[in-house]
Amino acid sequence: MSNDSAHSDHHGPGYTLFVIVWGALLVCTALTVYAAEIDLGFLNVALALSIATTKAALVTFFFMHLKYENLTFKLMVLACFVILAIFIGLTFFDTVYRPVG
């Protein structure tokens, strides 16, 4: 059990940092919209998803304060996304290899 004063020494970062992160998110948004205009074939999807993941990382680490949490929290978040990746990934072993017809 944490002692009650534990969170008074939790100095969240100031306003400016968040505004900067917000700016970065907007830049990413512009980037991804722009990138979608040029035709890169299948890379388009990959690129869009990488940018989305960058944005998601910014949101989780800064807006959601994950950066300031201890290792336990980070591992838990990792577990969640690993499991989700497994669910999606293993399903592809079926659908990709189905005989076409």
Binding site: M1, S2, T72, A79, C80, I83, I86, F87, L90, T91, F93, D94, T95, V96, Y97, R98, P99
Partner: protein, 543 residues
């Protein structure tokens, strides 16, 4: 007055009305008892339905009911047993009562959330039951709700899946609560490696509950959407894929079988050392295998779909992974047996049930290998072989695990002892009965008898009848066991704090434990299976 209150422990009324005191309680022990009673109630209903199935199958053709009734009954039997009995069973009942006690905590992390998940359980159960009497009558899809049949069936599928949806949330919230409890509320000195194996098993289970159950929610939601809006998400003509439904369903439902079995394994890991008077063999391996099962369990779901028309590559991958998950279970079995080696074994009823568990679970688990092997599964998939497999692991496994917990913790909950001789006999009869009931199913399956068949060809008659006789033996064992416990609740011999001489924290409390659990926060200085200096307290102490 103070004396009486102590004697009744957390049962003692504080003067409110029964409803307020129990249905709105936030005491984890009371919530656990509420679950226990409801689960047992649903179990009895499920058992009667099982009995009805067996009677119908006593002869080919119509025996006691028509096909529509039969299809409804096995669906209901499956839904009740899975979602209302085995999934909540050990975690929600005994987990709630004993997890905080074993941690030396006052309660779970979120007591209000705890009673809320109980209400969800009740509401979900009620909705599921309402589906029987309204609309198009009892759903007839099987507990797996496969599309497209579940999308076109005229029975009351939508209401039933709404019930399942709610039950899913109940299960999620319990899991969430337990994870936080285990992380945050351990008593001083109770390091992760001093945690008894039951909390460890609950911890592994809770992760599955949190990370897999939402898939069930979205899947049943999709069925409802399909029925109400007719979107055609699984309709190939509209770009869907019926096999994807099966993927989604099993992505949850396979991990769910480990939600069912892990807590039972945890209980058994806690019981065996107590009655062998020696530490569990390979503590770290057992807790590691619990976590390994929880993780690897989410990698194998498509072994339910080997002949569904999915790709052969997927068959190979999933068959391979299935075999890999069998190993941690095997490791557990070997470690349990080794714990008995050179022990000083007292064959008390909880141990008998635990050994019954090992035997029956091994009987069921080992046939999981036949199912996991793609070539052999092609023959026995959707036959009675599968029915035999899952009854062995669920009834013989989880069920016996539940009975073992009931006998192990009964004296703690009620401060009384049941008739040990009767309890042992009931266990033995159950083991015989369960084998009589389900072993013929293996033979039926090998002979090609498909499951979910209302009617069958005459060549299967003898084996079906054997199985039905087995169900009657099971009935005797079950009735004897329940009667014994029921009677001893009030009339058993009063018993001391620690009749088994166990070393975990719940046994340091009076029986029944008081509302406030620990007067002062316990400080833990050694592991959970350290029996040196632990006294067997059979007598009620009058301090």
């Amino acid at each position: 007055m103070a004396d009486a209150a102590v004697e009744k422990g957390f049962f003692a009324s504080k003067g409110g009305s029964l409803i307020m005191e129990w249905l709105f309680t936030i005491d984890h022990k009371r919530i656990g008892m509420l679950y226990l009673w409801c689960i047992l109630l649903f179990f009895i209903i499920g058992v009667f339905l099982g009995l009805a199935i067996r009677l119908e199958l006593f002869t080919p053709g119509r025996t006691i009911m028509g096909p529509q009734a039969y299809n409804g009954i096995f669906t209901l039997h499956g839904v009740i047993m899975i979602f209302l009995v085995v999934i909540p069973s050990i975690p929600a009942a005994f987990g709630n009562i004993f997890l905080p006690l074993q941690l030396g905590a006052e309660d779970v992390a979120f007591p209000r959330l705890n009673i809320f998940s109980f209400w969800l359980y009740i509401i979900g159960g009620a909705v599921a039951l309402i589906s029987l009497f309204t609309g198009g009558g009892p759903p007839d899809t099987g507990w797996t709700f496969y599309v497209p049949f579940s999308a076109v069936s005229t029975t009351n599928v939508s209401v039933a899946v709404a019930g399942v949806f709610i039950l899913g949330f109940s299960s999620i919230l319990t899991g969430l609560n337990f994870i936080v409890t285990i992380h945050r509320m351990r008593a001083p000195g109770l390091t992760w490696l001093r945690l008894p194996l039951f909390p460890w098993a609950l911890y592994a289970t809770a992760w599955i509950q949190v990370l897999a159950t939402p898939i069930l929610s979205i899947t049943v939601l999709l069925i409802a959407v399909e029925r109400l809006l007719g979107m055609g998400i699984f309709d190939p003509a509209r770009g869907g894929d019926p096999i994807l439904y099966q993927h989604l369903f099993w992505i949850y439902s396979h991990p769910a079988v480990y939600i069912m079995i892990l807590p039972a394994m945890g209980v058994v890991s806690d019981i065996i050392p107590v009655f062998c008077r020696k530490p569990i063999f390979g503590y770290k391996t057992i807790l590691g295998s619990s976590m390994a099962i929880a993780f690897a369990g989410s990698l194998v779901w498509a072994h339910h779909m080997f002949v569904s028309g999915m790709s052969d590559t997927a068959v190979m991958i999933f068959s391979f992974l299935t075999f890999v998950v069998a190993v941690p279970s095997a490791v557990k079995v070997f470690n349990w047996l080794s714990t008995m080696y050179k022990g000083s074994i007292r064959p008390e009823p909880p141990l008998i049930y635990a050994l019954g568990f090992i035997f029956l679970f091994a009987m069921g688990g080992i046939t999981g290998l036949v199912l996991g092997s793609a070539g052999t599964d092609m023959h026995v998939h959707d036959t009675y072989f599968v029915v035999g497999h899952f009854h062995y692991v669920m009834f013989g496994g989880t069920g016996m695990g539940l009975f073992a917990s009931m006998h192990y913790w009964f004296p703690k909950i009620y401060g009384r002892m049941y008739n040990k001789k009767q309890a042992t006999w009931a266990a033995l009869i159950l083991v015989v009965g369960i084998n009589g009931l389900y072993f013929p199913m293996y033979l039926l399956g090998l002979a090609g008898m498909p499951r979910r068949y209302y009617d069958y060809l005459p060549q299967y008659t003898t084996l079906h009848q054997l199985s039905t006789y087995g169900s009657w033996i099971t009935f005797v064992g079950l009735a004897l066991m329940i009667w014994n416990l029921w009677h001893s609740r009030k009339h058993g011999r009063p018993i001391g704090k620690n009749p088994w001489g166990a070393a975990t924290l719940e046994w340091t409390l009076p029986s029944p434990p008081p509302t406030h659990n620990f007067d002062e926060e316990p400080v833990v200085t050694h592991g959970p299976y350290h029996y040196e200096g632990v006294i067997i307290e059979e007598e009620v102490s009058h301090e």
